[in-house]
């Protein structure tokens, strides 16, 4: 049992060695993965494509139709298909001993080199046709990808600071707790003030459109309004006032989390559908090329 099984699985390349390497690992980001391995590969690919473009004599002129153009086109097409597979990879972790970080690293750098490969493939010939459509879609996907990398690299720290060790559920619980106190504290208030509190409590936590989410501005926030208009200086209104302040701060934390997450995710809502459109356009491009050229 215990001893014998261990004995079988040990040895130089077994799980133990693998685990030890992992346990010794550093927190290195996907960009720096393996000493920028994929950056170098992507640069080499781009450099080779440019060199080929400049050095090879393409007749009658450089475009997708020459043998070199076909080569670049095939590489580009292959790359795009492979880049799209990240969507599947991300959701299917087994089987296979691979890491999503390595895939993302390769995705980012090879995706960038696609801008070079694709552009050279066109031979700088544009027009109002399905071919150029595919090219533009590709560029858009790449541009959104660049945005993605920028937010991935810059926003996580603020997501963490905003969280202050609280989970999303705890933030909502904290708000509910404040609300319960507000409810009873507002009982002695006059009609006008009570209505302000009731309006604040009635407003949905997640109130606000996509714009509000992304900018963090909620002009119609009933809690801020109640705070602004809360008059009187009795003990009761002071207590309600301080509770409203706490409510505002708690809302600010929740909204901060929503905002940062929205900024971390919004680009995927362009990146992914455009990827699908790109593949469709690309298919049309390839088929039309084989039919009419």
């Amino acid at each position: 049992m215990m001893a014998t099984k261990a004995a079988q699985t040990k040895g130089g390349t077994g799980r133990f060695t693998q685990d030890e390497k992992r346990r010794d690992s550093d927190h290195v980001s996907f960009l720096k993965h393996r000493g920028f391995r994929w950056l170098w590969i992507a640069l080499a690919l781009s450099a080779a494509s440019i060199a080929g473009y400049v050095l090879i004599d393409q007749e009658p002129r450089p475009n997708g139709g020459t043998w070199y153009g076909y080569t670049l086109g095939t590489i580009g097409f292959g790359l795009i298909l492979w880049l799209s597979l990240l969507g599947v990879r991300k959701r299917r972790i087994n089987p296979g001993a691979w890491s999503l970080k390595a895939w993302t690293s390769a995705h980012v750098y090879l995706g960038l080199s696609l801008a070079v490969v694709g552009t050279l493939h066109t031979g700088f010939q544009m027009g109002w046709n399905v071919h150029t459509l595919a090219y533009v879609l590709m560029l858009l996907v790449i541009v959104t990808g660049i945005y993605g990398v920028v937010v991935y690299a810059t926003l996580p720290a603020s997501l963490s600071s905003n969280r202050k060790e609280m989970t999303r559920a705890q933030m909502l619980d904290a708000l509910t707790a404040i609300d319960r106190q507000l409810e009873s504290a507002a009982q002695p208030l006059g009609r006008a003030e009570a209505d302000l509190v009731i309006a604040a409590l009635a407003q949905d936590v997640f109130y606000g459109g996509p714009l509000a989410r992304l900018t963090g501005r909620y002009p119609g926030c009933a809690t801020s309004r109640a705070l602004k208009r809360m008059g009187g200086n009795s003990e009761e209104t002071a207590r309600v006032g301080s509770l409203l302040e706490r409510r505002r701060d708690q809302l600010a934390q929740i909204r901060g989390a929503l905002r940062i997450r929205a900024m971390l995710e919004i680009w995927l809502f362009i990146h992914i559908p455009l990827t699908i459109a790109l593949i469709a356009a690309l298919t049309a491009h390839v088929i039309s090329v084989f039919y009419y050229w």
């Binding site: 001893a3 992992r22 996907f30 993965h33 991300k90 972790i93 060790e165 509910t176 106190q181």
Partner: protein, 845 residues
């Protein structure tokens, strides 16, 4: 005084029930005494609808009462019926308070009762045992007479009682079955452990019940409760649901009111009900008063018993959980057997005979089970002190194995916490990993593997059989039991382990004779978490070896303590001051509860003197340590901030249990985009339930310790698992196997709250189906509602079992959480590799 029964059975749990049914079937005059008004109180108190499991599966049930896995209600119903059917004579509300022999004094049979006061002082009292018949005194003043007594009272014990005036009023209660039962009451909860907190929260949960709930806290902290519970309680207090009264104690109780002593004097408040949850006293004191001796003073010790379950008080038998058998099937079998023994059946073989026989089946040499047990007992020296019943129980958790010449028994770096005893033959230890031909022999009768047992760390050397060898592999659990039952075994293991640790650590050709003097002088000391072992600037001169646990090394640089390094079990420290005669250059303190071996400095020096090679090695280690210290000190001047950050982060990690971890998930929140892909991957790799909660847990300087198993060196969760379902796997992972009965003990015992109890959901539609047609809930853990619906459709209800991280054992590539992180934020590390200056200060981005 009435009838003298042949047997009185105390306690109607599975053990007592089964005994009573057997006695009734044999027509013995008997009585079954039960404290409560129903049978089998422990099972009665399980959660409603709990699926009771019948493990071990390979053990046959031998009882007049039926039992198979099923719902609590069904089982209790069946037992009620069958007990009535067998015409068992049951007496309810019959709590035994004392058992006295009424016959003559038994010459020379004196029980020594040791009582320990809170302040650590001991007092010893002698009790003269008397022969049967026994008089059993009940709480209601009645006395029951019996020739034989069977104690089957389980291990629940009695709740600790309140002591203030008025504590015996009827509205003071010690249990809360259904919080929804009480409305419109002023309720005071006494006790700030998990039970008290859960009760208070339960009573205040629904505002519609209009209860006014307060919970008393003698101090201001809640040291004995789980962090999550405390947080929730605080939140309820904040929200005005209930009230925490800090620095308050009960002074007196009267109907309708309670008087408290508080910091500001006495306070009398309305109170309709008091629920006291102030722990429970184990039944040991009561049992000892009956003249029954325990195997040791250890808290986990069980009564000393003969092969027929007879205790040191002749005619009093102990069975069931109290005897150390916590599974229902075992309890029931023993109930049956003990009556047979009392009735004179000496031929009866225990029901676990086939299980034990199977363990010996593959060994060469035709011996019967009894002979094998005797063979092991007499040949392995640490087993000498056991009796045949203990040997049987011991064997259930152990394995006997045969190894041919040069066959590997275990390899260096394999995880393993079992101990081996050599029954015949001998083994060779490969002391030098670079050169396997250098070996040290260990002879028959001795043990090996003790370092893994004590430190919880990986095997230090490969061990092979030197000839045809029979060993007994003693699981960690059995080894712990053995040490608490047989004090001489404990001492022997300790001595050998110190000797081996010295030999292994200092290596370089040392022989047993070389270290003999040092072993003699060595002392094992226990250290609390945070206790200072060596203080900077002191001029004591001892050397220490960390036997279990871990230490942190700190140095005061400009007033503030700076973290220098982390020392795992197996390391030594304190040698610098000894070698160069200087004052202590740094402070060493325990990161967690630890054990150190203290070696006198002179002895250590003498050893160095005799062994130039060893001296050289020690000097080299010392130079390495000096270099680290100098490096960090030099950094202090140029980058003070980095050194502070390093110290504080290291301290934060140690405070969060990393000091006892072997493999822990950390998240660098400078990289984490909050996509929860780690949780989704975990769920998809493990039956659709995630074993990690990414957001929960503490964070310092953007380093986050999520709620996920740390695979502790000495897992707390293993402490009290009735079927021993929690084990350490071949890759060092602590995992729970399928024999889990869902009792929830491990969940309560894990200090990090990483175990959840849940039922396996049915399989989801495939990823492809989800991507193309939107079928099923998609990647990750399905919502509770989806799982509930799918399970209902699936039919067969699944039992809730304990689930936790198994480090993705058996999955190629290792932990899915780490592999699924797109940015590299999630890492799983071991503390001794991670707690270094560069790892904690280098910017990841």
């Amino acid at each position: 005084m009435g009838e003298i029964y042949t047997v009185a059975i105390i306690g109607s749990g599975p053990a007592g029930l089964s005994a009573a049914a057997r006695a009734a079937a044999l027509g013995l005059s008997h009585v079954l005494l039960e404290k409560t008004d129903h049978l089998s109180d422990t099972i009665y108190k399980y959660q409603k609808g709990k699926h009771v499991m019948a493990t071990p599966a390979n053990l046959v049930l031998r009882s007049d009462i039926d039992f198979e896995a099923g719902k609590r209600e069904v089982i209790l119903g069946l037992w009620d019926e069958q007990i009535a059917g067998h015409k068992v004579h049951v007496k309810y509300h019959a709590e035994a308070r004392a058992i006295r022999g009424t016959g003559d004094a038994i010459p020379g049979s004196v029980q020594q009762l040791v009582t320990r006061a809170r302040d650590g002082t001991k007092s010893v009292r002698d009790i003269q045992r008397h022969a049967p018949p026994y008089a059993i005194e009940l709480a209601n003043g009645e006395t029951v007479m019996a020739q034989n007594v069977i104690l089957a009272i389980g291990t629940q014990g009695n709740p600790n009682r309140m002591r203030c005036p008025g504590a015996d009023l009827p509205h003071v209660q010690y249990q809360l079955d259904d919080p929804a039962e009480y409305v419109d009451e002023h309720i005071v909860i006494v006790g700030t452990g998990d039970a008290g907190i859960e009760n208070a929260r339960g009573l205040a949960e629904d505002p519609a019940q209009r209860n006014t709930v307060s919970i008393l806290n003698r101090g201001t902290e809640f040291p004995t409760a789980k962090d999550a519970n405390v947080k929730a309680l605080m939140a309820d207090h904040e929200a005005g649901k209930l009230m925490i009264r800090t620095e308050s104690e009960t002074a007196s109780i009267e109907p309708g009111f309670i008087t408290l002593t508080t910091r500001d004097g006495e306070l009398r408040i309305p109170c309709d009900r008091i629920i006291a949850r102030i722990g429970s006293a184990p039944p040991r004191a009561f049992v000892e008063e009956c003249g029954i001796e325990f195997s040791s003073e250890d808290r986990s010790a069980f009564p000393k018993l003969s092969p027929v379950f007879e205790s040191t008080a002749p005619g009093i038998f102990v069975i069931g959980a109290l005897a150390g058998y916590p599974l229902i099937k075992h309890c029931m079998n023993q109930g049956h057997d003990v009556i047979e023994f009392i009735n004179g059946n000496t031929e009866l073989k225990p029901a676990d005979e086939p299980i034990i026989a199977a363990k010996f089946a593959s060994l060469p040499g035709n011996r019967s089970t009894g002979e094998w047990l005797e063979f092991l007992r007499t040949n392995v020296s640490i087993l000498n002190g056991m009796n045949p019943l203990q040997m049987r129980e011991f064997m259930l958790d152990s394995e006997a194995r045969f190894f041919g010449p040069s066959e590997v028994i275990f390899e260096r770096n394999a995880p393993g916490s079992s101990l081996f005893g050599i029954a015949s033959g001998s083994v060779a230890v490969e002391v030098n990993p670079a050169d396997p031909s250098i070996t040290i022999p260990i002879e028959a009768g001795s043990i090996f593997g003790e370092v893994g047992l004590i430190s919880g760390r990986r095997r230090g050397a490969t061990i092979r059989a030197a000839e045809d060898t029979i060993v007994v592999e003693i699981s960690r659990l059995a080894a712990l039991k053995l040490q608490s039952q047989v004090p001489t075994a404990k001492a022997a293991i300790q001595r050998i382990s110190i000797e081996r640790q010295l030999l292994q650590m200092f290596g370089s050709g040392l022989k047993r004779e070389d270290v003999a003097a040092l072993v003699e002088a060595a002392r094992v000391e226990e250290k609390r978490a945070g206790e200072v072992v060596v203080a900077e600037g002191a001029d004591d001169k001892d050397v220490f070896i960390i036997r279990r646990g871990s230490m942190i090394v700190e140095k005061a640089i400009g007033e503030r303590p700076v973290f220098l390094s982390y020392l795992p079990a197996g390391s030594y420290f304190g040698e610098m001051a000894v070698i160069d005669g200087s004052l202590r250059t740094a402070t060493v303190k325990a990161a967690i509860k630890s054990e150190v071996i203290r070696l006198p400095g002179e002895g250590f020096l003498a050893l160095l003197e005799k062994n130039p090679a060893l001296r050289e090695k020690a000097m080299k280690d010392m130079a390495g340590r000096r270099a680290t210290n100098a490096f960090i000190e030099s950094r202090k001047d140029s980058f003070g901030g980095a050194v502070d950050l390093y110290s504080e982060t290291a301290q934060f990690l140690v405070d969060n249990g990393i000091g006892e971890a072997t493999d822990v998930l950390l998240i660098d929140e400078k990289l984490c985009i909050g996509c929860d892909n780690c949780e989704k991957a975990c769920a998809d790799s493990h039956d659709g339930l995630t074993r990690l909660d990414r957001e929960a847990g503490r964070t310092y300087a953007h380093l986050h310790v999520p709620t996920s198993c740390r695979h502790c060196e000495h897992p707390h969760c293993m402490a009290d698992c009735p079927p021993n379902a929690i084990k350490r796997g071949p890759d060092g992972e602590v995992f729970i196997d399928d024999t889990c009965i869902g009792c929830g003990n491990c969940q309560r015992n894990c200090p990090y709250g990483v175990i959840r109890m849940d039922a396996k959901p049915p399989k989801k539609p495939s990823l492809l189906q989800w991507m193309l047609f939107g079928r099923g809930p998609g990647p990750g853990e399905a919502s509770y509602n989806w799982r509930k619906k799918a399970a209902a459709k699936d039919g067969t209800p699944k039992a809730k079992q304990a689930i936790k991280c198994d480090m993705c054992s058996g999955i190629d590539g290792g932990p899915a959480c780490v592999r699924a992180c797109p940015t590299g934020a999630a890492i799983r590390v071991s503390p001794d590799k991670f707690l270094t200056f560069t790892k904690l200060t280098e910017d990841a981005e």
